[in-house]
């Protein structure tokens, strides 16, 4: 039974198999001291501690890593990066895991992935983020009618103060289009 469940898990994670290699390189020298865990402000909400996560990365436990919420709970405070006695780029490693989740559109991380992707969609359209448009894109992508309700009170307060608008921020159309395309082309080569 347990084996079958594990197999199913690893099938789901096949898509990310080679993508974990660069993250393994980043944490190769980890000595499992736990300074990262002791420094992490979000550790209380994580299913695996950062220290355990790095071991799982080195053990290639893809299914468990990407089903866990740990990397998505990194708020990029850089305490672990600052304090790691091995000088490992741990915040960058957390980011690299977020990038894998985004590239593969992992359902288990839908909220965060859609949040970041729709932010970038708005930036790609206008060059600068249009906060109102971005939130509308995000709500549409989540397809959960309850999510907008959570943001409605703050949205109203911001609108009353004239702090959010639907006006595109730059006159020039899609000023970052060439940059985005070139980045995509270079990433395909890798």
């Amino acid at each position: 039974m347990k084996m079958a469940a594990n197999l199913e898990k690893s099938n789901a994670a096949d898509a990310v198999s080679d993508e974990l290699a660069p993250v393994q390189e980043m944490v190769r020298a980890c000595i499992q001291c736990g300074t990262c865990t002791g420094s992490c402000p979000n550790e209380f909400a994580m299913d695996y501690t950062p220290r355990r996560l790095w071991r799982m990365v080195l053990m290639d436990q893809k299914a468990e890593i990407f089903q866990s919420k740990t990397f998505a709970l990194c708020s990029a405070c850089y305490y672990c990066t600052l304090r790691c006695p091995r000088g490992l780029p741990l915040t960058e490693a957390m980011n690299a895991l977020k990038q894998i989740a985004a590239r593969n559109n992992l359902v288990s991380h839908k909220d965060s992935v859609q949040f970041y992707k729709n932010f970038m969609r708005s930036v790609r359209r206008h060059g600068r983020v249009n906060e109102m448009e971005f939130m509308l894109l995000y709500f549409t992508a989540l397809k959960n009618p309850l999510t907008p309700l959570r943001f409605a009170p703050l949205g109203m307060r911001l609108m009353l103060k004239g702090k959010v608008s639907m006006r595109p921020p730059l006159k020039r159309q899609r000023p970052l289009e060439k940059l985005f395309r070139k980045v995509e082309a270079l990433e395909e080569k890798i």
Binding site: P41, N42, F44, A45, A72, L73, S75, A76, C77, Y78, Y79, T81, L82, T91, N95, A96, K98, Q99, A102, R103, D111, S112, F115, Y116, K117, F119, M120, V123, G127, R128, V129, E131, R150, F151, L154, R157, L158, K161, K163, V164, S165, P169, L170, R172, P175, L176, K178, L179, F180, R181, K182, V183, L186, E187
Partner: protein, 288 residues
């Protein structure tokens, strides 16, 4: 003193008061700001969570445009997230010529070139090291002696690059606050995390972190911040957090530029205190 100015997206929207108060303070201290022409988004935390290359290319574009202005090499950045993204390109390209070459391959598409000669400076860095408490004292129009202020630095102006302050125990705001005549609220939460974008995607976690910060600030008249995301997280959810924690955690949250501006004699209208989401009645009464 002259700086190129990168306001960033938040400062055109939800953090407009940070933008206007920074410009007003800089003008009263005699500094000239030149906004980078057609600047674009730095990538915020979203680019780094989707593509590593994009997270460097977006800030690199702005640095390359800034380099076209020959005589000013310092870029003033008020937002800590923008600051770190731009700084990362400054640091990465200095130590790694491969990164610089790859970024130039991308920038070429827009006829831009990055040489790597810009210095990215946070607003707090400029206040603390270029102007310092002396500049505030010599321009002081209104001593704010009745106020006790908790300095909140957040993360990304302190870490990972220790440029102008101690990334573990930051102190750079203290002499500036004291120069306004105010007292510094002693606490250990100045460099702790506000949860960043958790408030949008993992709200329960974000509220827990903010509650800890607001609780530690009890006894202060206000917290001052130097980042639009910290400011929004600390000011916008106080009612909800107080309700959840069953404790009054409401407190005035101002940008450092607004507080210094008051001491320099700028009006509440100039500093746009009306745009803040948390200014308590008792704070207003003290302000008179």
């Amino acid at each position: 003193m002259k700086y190129q100015y990168y306001p960033g997206c938040s400062l055109e929207g939800t953090a407009l008061e940070y933008n206007l108060s920074t410009q007003a303070v800089m003008a009263s201290l005699g500094a000239e700001l030149v906004e980078i022409e057609d600047w674009t988004c730095c990538g915020a935390s979203a680019a780094g969570a989707t593509s590593f290359l994009l997270s460097l290319a977006l800030p690199a574009r702005n640095l390359a445009i800034a380099e076209k202005t020959d005589d000013v090499s310092d870029i003033l950045v008020p937002c800590s997230a923008c600051y770190l993204n731009l700084k990362k390109v400054e640091e990465e390209t200095r130590s790694n010529s491969d990164v610089l070459a790859q970024l130039n391959l991308i920038l070429q598409e827009d006829q831009l070139q990055l040489r790597g000669r810009m210095q990215v400076r946070h607003f707090l860095d400029v206040m603390a090291r270029d102007f310092g408490p002396e500049a505030i004292r010599s321009n002081l129009k209104r001593a704010l002696t009745d106020f006790r202020i908790a300095p909140y630095y957040g993360c990304q102006c302190l870490r990972p690059y220790a440029v102008f302050d101690d990334p573990e125990s930051p102190r750079s705001m203290e002499p500036l606050i004291e120069a306004t005549g105010a007292q510094v609220h002693p606490w250990k939460m100045g460099g702790k995390c506000c949860g960043a974008s958790h408030m949008n995607t993992k709200m329960e976690v974000g509220m827990e972190l903010v509650a800890g910060i607001l609780r530690a600030a009890k006894g202060a008249d206000a917290i001052v911040t130097v980042c639009p995301m910290c400011q929004m997280n600390l000011e916008a959810y106080q009612q909800k957090i107080s309700h959840r924690q069953n404790e009054n955690l409401t407190l005035t949250i101002l940008y450092l530029s607004q507080f210094i501006g008051l001491a320099l004699g700028l009006t509440e209208q100039q500093l746009r205190l009306d745009l803040n989401l948390a200014v308590t009645n008792s704070f207003r009464r003290k302000l008179g």
